[in-house]
């Protein structure tokens, strides 16, 4: 894959990981005709060891684990899709894998793009809201002027 293709797939996979199960299910309903999907691996749940860095940017250390679900599927037309996301929701991982595979097919790409664009807008709106709520708690310091006496 070239740089652009990698970036596009990476973006799609990351947004699919952050999609809600409702968003994925609705997205699947919008796919017509439904492709043939074969399970290659999973869906299964397991752990990923999350690492941090000493002092914030030093060498890595193991912070603790997080639950992760993943799935790999193959479409009837041969495309392989991978889904991997935090949490225990295996169905969500399977749907994410299906969309990753569909994203590689020109006829389904617009539908997948509209799904992930919607997820991206939702996340941006949520982030914006939180950033603005946090900004309202910023401390504005002012200097007390001392009197002459």
């Amino acid at each position: 894959m070239g740089g652009t293709a990698v970036n596009e797939r990476k973006r799609a996979m990351e947004l699919l990981a952050k999609a809600s199960v409702a968003e994925l299910t609705a997205g699947w309903q919008a796919i017509e005709p439904k492709p043939e999907v074969h399970a290659v691996r999973g869906p299964e749940s397991g752990l990923v060891m999350v690492r941090g860095r000493i002092g914030g940017a030093g060498d890595a250390f193991n912070l603790g684990e997080a639950t992760v679900s993943r799935a790999t599927v193959r479409l009837g037309s041969g495309e392989i899709g991978h889904g991997q996301l935090l949490g225990n929701d295996r169905e969500k991982a399977r749907l994410a894998a299906v969309f990753d595979a569909l994203h590689q097919r020109a006829e389904h790409r617009p539908a997948v793009d509209s799904l992930i664009d919607a997820v991206e807008s939702r996340i941006e709106a949520e982030d914006r809201k939180q950033a603005e709520q946090t900004a309202a708690t910023r401390v504005d310091f002012f200097t007390m002027v001392r009197g002459d006496n």
Partner: protein
């Protein structure tokens, strides 16, 4: 003679049924849902995730509910669950510099880039019980204000600009980060393993040790350089694709504790640092962790080891509350045979003792009579 006995099966089954009943409590009250625990008792869930060393809010809330709010029991349950799952891999190290900040304060710089963001804090509340929470009164929406998107510079980078603070922790070039879930601990530890152990360590235990350093048992002259809370991306390398993708975000709390250091033959006078990184919103724990991390680096800086907070083997061997509760609580399980053996021993010793003191007494009376 050792006689095996069996029994109590019905009692155990009935006890567990009784536990389930008491857990549910008064049936005229609505049952509490997992979503409600995640949303309204979030910091309890965060503590369970941090000390179980497993990030999963839903499972953390389930553990809290199952344990009737007993935190260590909940941590135990979640820790046990993690052993049933396979490990898929290791994430890329999380980047706290790009955190989606929900709170960020520094006690060392008033006007630092990005500013002081209080976030949803208990600080500056009066700690008075709030009667409005006795009922379900409506809660106002938070105030919003325009946010600037500029990155939040880490406080350690400000001091690093002047060369007045030690760098981020580096281990030898070929060092592979240790994992205490895979290998037994061998003391002395490297700092990476120590941080892993501290991050899952009991909050109360680490808080007490951190407090002891402030009261003079291993002085560290600490300042909170920075505490930040927010979400970071967890990226995993996908071997089939040769690139890393984000699996989603997790919330973490990071503390950079800045400590005065006089300098030694090897090092110039500069600030040193303790580091804390904990799952969820766990500010007290991250601060305690950073103080203990710094205290445990005494040998690295040629400081005298005089206090409990500097004793790595003592701290790390006792900071895990699942291990601790397992060993302390096992004492209430049947020890009938051990105790019979001890009882028999004490009876024999007592008989010998009584016989000897009787003989001595008889001897003394005889001497007096003669």
């Amino acid at each position: 003679m050792y006689v095996a006995v069996k029994g109590g099966e019905a009692a155990i089954a009935n006890a567990h049924q009784l536990l389930a009943d008491r857990r549910r409590g008064d049936r005229s009250l609505p049952s509490i849902s997992i979503d409600q625990i995640v949303a309204q008792l979030g910091l309890a869930v965060d503590r369970v995730m941090a000390e179980a060393s497993l990030y999963d809010r839903e499972l953390g809330a389930l553990a809290v509910r199952q344990a009737r709010g007993d935190m260590i029991e909940a941590i135990f349950i979640l820790r046990a669950y993690r052993t049933t799952l396979p490990r898929f891999g290791m994430s890329e190290p999380v980047d706290t510099a790009t955190m989606k900040i929900e709170r960020r304060v520094s006690a060392t710089y008033k006007d630092l880039p990005g500013g002081q963001l209080l976030g949803p804090t208990f600080d500056y509340t009066h700690r008075l019980l709030d009667p409005s929470l006795l009922t379900d009164e409506p809660v106002a929406d938070p105030v919003r204000r325009g946010a600037d998107d500029s990155p939040m510079m880490r406080v350690s980078d400000i001091l690093a600009g002047e060369g007045l603070i030690e760098g981020d922790g580096k281990l030898p070039e070929d060092h592979v980060a240790g994992d205490l879930t895979r290998e037994p601990l061998e003391f002395p530890l490297k700092r990476d393993l120590r941080l892993q152990a501290l991050s899952r360590g009991d909050e109360g235990f680490l808080l007490a040790l951190a407090y002891s350093t402030q009261r003079g048992y291993a002085r560290t002259h600490p300042f909170v350089g920075e505490v930040r809370i927010g979400e970071v991306e967890v990226e995993l390398d996908i071997p089939e694709l040769n690139f890393a993708v984000s699996l989603g975000r997790i919330q973490v709390t990071e503390c950079q504790m800045v400590n005065q250091f006089q300098g030694s033959a090897k090092n110039p006078p500069q600030f040193t640092r303790g580091y804390g990184l904990v799952f969820g919103q766990s500010e007290r724990k991250a601060m305690a962790m950073s103080l203990v991390d710094r205290a445990l680096r005494a040998e690295e800086f040629g400081e005298d080891i005089v206090a409990p907070a500097q004793d790595e083997e003592f701290i790390i061997s006792h900071s895990d509350n699942v291990q601790a509760t397992g060993f302390v609580e096992h004492l209430k399980l049947p020890h009938y045979v051990d105790f019979q053996a001890e009882l028999d021993l004490v009876r024999r010793m007592r008989a010998e003792y009584d016989a000897q003191s009787r003989a001595e007494k008889d001897g003394a009376i005889r001497e007096a009579a003669e």
